[in-house]
Amino acid sequence: MVLELQKPRPIWQIMFSTHHTDVGLLYLITSLSFLFLGGALALAIRAELFYPGTQIIADSMTFNRIFTVHGTTLIFLFILPFASAVGNYFVPIMVRYKDMAYPKLNAIAFWMIPPAGALIWLGFADFTWYATPPYSIISAPGPAADMWIFGLKILGISSVLGAINFIVTILKCKHPDMSIGQVPLLAWSFLTSSLIILVAIPTFAAALLMLLTDRLGVSGFFNPAMGGDPIAYAHLFWFTFHPEVYVLVIPAIGMMYEIIPRFSRKPIYSHSSGIFAFVLLSMVSFSSWAHHMYATGMSFTEKTVFMIGTLAAVPASAMHVFNFIATMWNGRIKFATPMMWAVGGIALFFSAGAGGVVNAAMPLDFQTHDSYWVVGHFHLFVMGTIAFGSIGFLYYMFPYVTGRMYNEKMGQAHFIMSFIGAVLVFFTQHLLGLYGMPRRVYDYPPIPEWITMNQIASVGAMIIGVSMFIFLINMIYSSAKGKLADTDDPFGLGGKYYYPFEAKNPHH
């Protein structure tokens, strides 16, 4: 997989390739482009909320469109494609196969993402990433809303195709000498998250079609004026998207499982408990979807059931944290950039989980629901855990992809600034929620506490913004001009991989 950029090839050779590392590179570049686009929208939101009144965004409609596209972009066009990029690079090598099981399907799954991204960005819908009916049916202006629906439809198909490919590659194409229990945890994370995708996505795919026909006025599944029920959409949506949260987080945990033992110079504490926790997490992910809906008027019994289902996910997540800590114990840890991101990610993962327990504990949901607490909470997951794991892994795979080393000082500065920024933004947002600030608001009344906390959060966001700029420069400069890396041991750890990295799959 090494030296993608050291052997210059014409761009179309990469674009029309079906080789797993080429498709992985395409996924990587696409996802990082959308990371910067979505991040720019986040900075616009934070700038607008810096002070009550209008700052840089002229009207609330534009603001609503911006946070909708911000969320959709970073979840579907950054996190998921980034995971696919890592999976494409590593899964075939880890299971010792020459490529993905279905190379052409792999390329097709990737090439569905740019048109979907274009639909979402050119449409710029305003109905939040949750497309809540009946707002999305009777109020949201088209064609933006319809373009969003088609974009998500295409992304759903792309995810399912990718998931099928990963499952077949891991289960059917792994080397005969290798038992399923010996498959590295990163590959296991792709196996379990792909299985979740296969079970979860069809529900939302159906709901999207129903939403579309509702918008066209030919059906009334979710439209109360036609006898439908918007809460049915909420159930269908969260039945897909609560498990989807685990689809996002499980590969990031898999990436940490790759980084932490490497830099601790020890094997993972317990491979089998890692597998067990992944499988358990993927199963309980389906038992908790309606905890997003306590405030829609659910009965006491329903709320109790879904609270128990939600709390059941905690022990499995906690097992991962234990595994990380026990792996670092008695190690000789080298704090290179990837390890810093991974450890920072664990710390924020714990905070995010603790906040999640509060959301799930029934009456507390009525303090936090749809307030800035929730915004802070899930950003600790998607930014603090998933993006931290992913960016750490990007630094980790950088020398293997480019054959060059990134700038270590800039990488560390990126981490330190992002960590401080994330703490400032997302912990402050938890507090804002406790002070009652609703989410998805363009403006807010001039309550002194709200102003102070919003300003702290905005400053934190700007710090992250600057750190991401450093990141961008580091990536571009180092991939062209960075010092050549020793691809057998780029981080100077003095060890070999437990999977055969020398199996550099030839291009075909």
């Binding site: 110079r265 670092m328 664990i346 710390a347 603790a354 509060v358 060890g495």
Partner: protein, 87 residues
């Protein structure tokens, strides 16, 4: 050892706080209607006490690990796996 101390800390809080709560609440029945603010914020603060205790143990452990097992620590020794060079 540290994790065991932490464990007992958590258990102690689990037992002591509800007990104290119960003692103070006894004989203090408010007349009239239940105040939902009191019930919910009480629950919130109890959970925050436990969450921050557990959080202190977890993040304290992580910080100590990072400090003690960094490769530049004076007592850092190669792990048994480094001799074979495979892990």
């Amino acid at each position: 050892m540290k994790s065991i101390i932490g464990l007992f800390l958590v258990l102690a809080i689990l037992v002591i706080i509800p007990a104290v709560n119960f003692v103070f609440a006894a004989g203090d029945e408010p007349e009239g209607y239940l105040d939902r603010r009191v019930v919910i914020w009480n629950l919130f603060y109890r959970m925050m006490t436990v969450a921050f205790t557990v959080g202190a143990v977890v993040s304290g452990t992580i910080i100590w690990l990072c400090w003690r097992f960094r490769e530049s620590h004076p007592k850092a020794t190669p792990t048994p796996y480094e001799k074979e060079g495979v892990w």
